[in-house]
């Protein structure tokens, strides 16, 4: 059991175990039937994209539709590499996501520590501005953001995608809240008495204690950056710098688009997160709904 769990321990105990009595047998059957229909609706597009990845364009749109595994997988793969430098693009996505995640974990925790451990003039003002900035819809700054990026000479670089997120308000707030809960002032004072430098207190005393919050932030950042589409769309222009979302979208409107190949690319682009979710579903769900439950 990790500490990332969304429920407080004492609440978890109160999960009603035997509520079946108020739902008679028929009701229970109906409940499960209902859930299973929901599952099928949820899963179908994923199963469908996996199937389509093995079919040619003509087979995908044939009648009756193909509900079996096709034999066009290799051809689709070759076609996919023709329409986009798939592995370069995948690597780009990975680089953007990893760089942004590592940066965010490092710098958000640093800033959060600054807000948590010190009292200084202007702290409340800056913290207030930070909270307020979370309410501003990102669309509002989109155009000047683009111009800023252009002015800094960062157009068509990956830096422009991940750099703006490394000290984001959400991450700082999340980690500061966690510090408030889990780190006592006495501990910091004790470390100071022992003669540890300010940065060393942060690095060797505080960081190890807030690992769960760092994991939460890392999950949120990685998923957000991996799936990001709008920033790459306005920033990137050369196809070999594209990230997955942008590359897939750009081959959509090709004349005679090879849909089998596109579906293969789409499927492969979803695969890393799906596999991660298979193993870490609890942590990922807890992380992505962290704001809601703690809010």
């Amino acid at each position: 059991m990790t500490t990332l769990d969304t429920q407080e321990p004492e609440l978890r105990v109160t999960i009603p175990r035997k509520r079946t009595r108020s739902f008679p047998r028929l009701g229970k059957f109906a409940t499960h039937a209902f859930m299973i229909v929901g599952l099928l609706v949820t899963i179908f597009p994923f199963a469908w994209v996996a199937l389509m990845a093995t079919h040619s364009r003509t087979e995908i749109y044939s009648s009756p539709p193909p509900f079996w595994i096709g034999d066009n997988l290799t051809e689709n793969y070759i076609k996919l590499l023709e329409v986009m430098p798939f592995w370069t693009v995948l690597f780009n996505s990975l680089w953007v996501a990893v760089a942004g995640t590592v940066g965010a974990v490092l710098f958000c925790s640093m800033c959060a520590y600054g807000f948590f451990a010190y009292d200084f003039k202007g702290k409340n003002v800056i913290f207030g501005i930070m909270i307020a900035s979370m309410m501003v819809p990102p669309v509002l700054g989109l155009i000047p953001f683009f111009l800023t990026v252009q002015f800094l000479g960062l157009l068509d670089t990956h830096l422009a995608i991940w750099l703006p997120g490394i000290a984001n308000a959400f991450g700082i707030f999340l980690i500061r809240q966690y510090m408030m809960q889990s780190i006592s002032r006495d501990l910091l004072d004790a470390a100071k008495v022992d003669g540890a430098s300010e940065f060393r207190i942060f690095w060797s005393v505080v960081l190890p204690l807030i690992k769960p919050a760092l994991a939460t932030l890392a999950i949120v950042m990685f998923i957000g950056l991996w799936n990001n589409f709008l920033t790459p769309l306005i920033v990137l222009s050369s196809p070999d710098k594209y990230v997955l979302t942008l590359a897939l979208r750009s081959v959509q409107s090709l004349a005679n688009s090879p849909w089998g190949a596109i579906m293969l690319g789409t499927f492969l682009s979803m695969l890393p997160l799906l596999i991660a979710f298979l193993f870490f579903s609890r942590q990922m769900m807890a992380g992505l709904t962290a704001g809601a439950v703690k809010g």
């Binding site: 499960h32 155009i143 490394i166 000290a167």
Partner: protein, 345 residues
């Protein structure tokens, strides 16, 4: 600092006088420590200040300034020209602007409300009537669409919706031939091919379905967490008082999850009003689809800024959009906020 070998005091950070007298040196040292003490917190929060100023604060201010200018960024900074409220007047005059705001509101409502109407009962059933292990399995599966990129999902639905023998249309035809369904689905065969993404009437519902499909699972997880906080004693007490299953849900469980509902609805409103990727991909980035009926406000903003290169007008539009979002959110906070937050504060 450049240190030359001929400069003996250069090694000392306090300058020549600190090395001369002992008391002074101590005072200098103390001053330096005080400086470090004031500076340390600022060093810790400096990443935020730098990134925030460059990528958020400056763009916001500049966007306000830009909205009163006419400017094509390709022509360089010097081509900027003050035009007063012209950009706003132009934006408010543009029928596409109003169409996009209408579409945004339509999509926000039609794709927003069902998410919660489905998620609340499903979460309640999962928490009260399903064993914990099985519940984990169900919620995790429902959550999968949320972690998948919107572009990938929209591409998949793009093929599913395809008018020319896409899987959805083929299913509709197949189902309409079944004995029971044929009586009221008889029209389906004649209506084929149904162009889900290429007709102005159907594109919005098609987009809305994708949004509902993607975000309902997220809401189920939030509401499940909410229902889990309702203690079993409350239900037991209600049962003793003679509440039936429906009353337990309506009078006990629902009021208890108000804070969760408030949060989930806020997220839906803010997210839906900025909807961009689903309509963009489902209309293959083609000016909002047939008759611009898939054009949302963010999409319109993108067209004006990046396709037509009217940065000033686009900045004005983003402020109009901001006002729109702010008003809707404020109304939501006003009517639901007190009750929503009343639960835990």
């Amino acid at each position: 600092m450049a240190i030359t070998p001929h400069d003996p005091v250069g090694q000392s950070p306090h300058g020549p006088e600190t090395a001369s007298e002992k008391p002074r040196r101590v005072r200098g040292h103390a001053a330096r420590r005080r400086w470090i003490k004031t500076l340390t917190p600022w060093l810790f929060i400096s990443p935020f200040i730098i990134i925030f100023s460059v990528f958020t604060a400056f763009p916001l201010v500049f966007s306000g300034y830009l909205s009163f200018q006419e400017w094509n960024p390709v022509a360089g900074l010097s081509s900027m020209e003050f035009v007063g409220w012209d950009n706003y007047a132009l934006a408010l005059d543009d029928p596409w602007m109003w169409k996009s705001l209408y579409n945004t509101a339509w999509l926000a409502i039609v794709s927003g409300i069902p998410q919660h109407l489905i998620a609340i009962p499903v979460a309640y059933l999962l928490v009260t009537a399903v064993r914990s292990g099985v519940r984990q399995f169900y919620t995790a599966t429902f959550f999968v669409p949320f972690i998948t990129s919107t572009v990938a999902i929209s591409l998949i639905f793009y093929t599913i919706y395809s008018g020319n023998s896409g899987i959805l249309n083929q299913w509709l035809v197949a189902i309409s031939k079944w004995p029971v369904f044929s009586s009221f689905l008889g029209w389906v065969e004649e209506a084929m091919p149904i162009r889900w993404l290429n007709s102005s009437d159907l594109i919005k519902p098609s987009i809305a379905f994708v949004v509902i499909w993607k975000y309902t699972g997220f809401n189920i997880v939030i509401y499940s967490a909410g229902f889990l906080t309702v203690s079993k004693d409350l239900y037991d007490a209600a049962k003793v008082d003679g509440c039936n299953a429906w009353q337990q849900f309506w009078n006990i469980a629902l009021p208890m999850i108000r804070p969760f509902a408030f949060f989930a609805v806020t997220l839906t409103i803010i997210g839906n009003l900025q909807m961009f990727e689903e309509p963009f991909v489902l209309t293959s980035g083609n000016s909002g689809g047939v008759g611009q009926s898939g054009l949302t406000a963010s999409y319109y903003l993108y067209l004006v800024g990046w396709e037509w290169l009217e940065m000033g007008a686009a900045a004005a539009i983003s402020w109009v959009l901001f006002l729109f979002i702010a008003i809707v959110t404020a109304v939501h906070f006003y009517f639901n906020g007190k009750k929503g937050l009343g639960g835990d504060r």
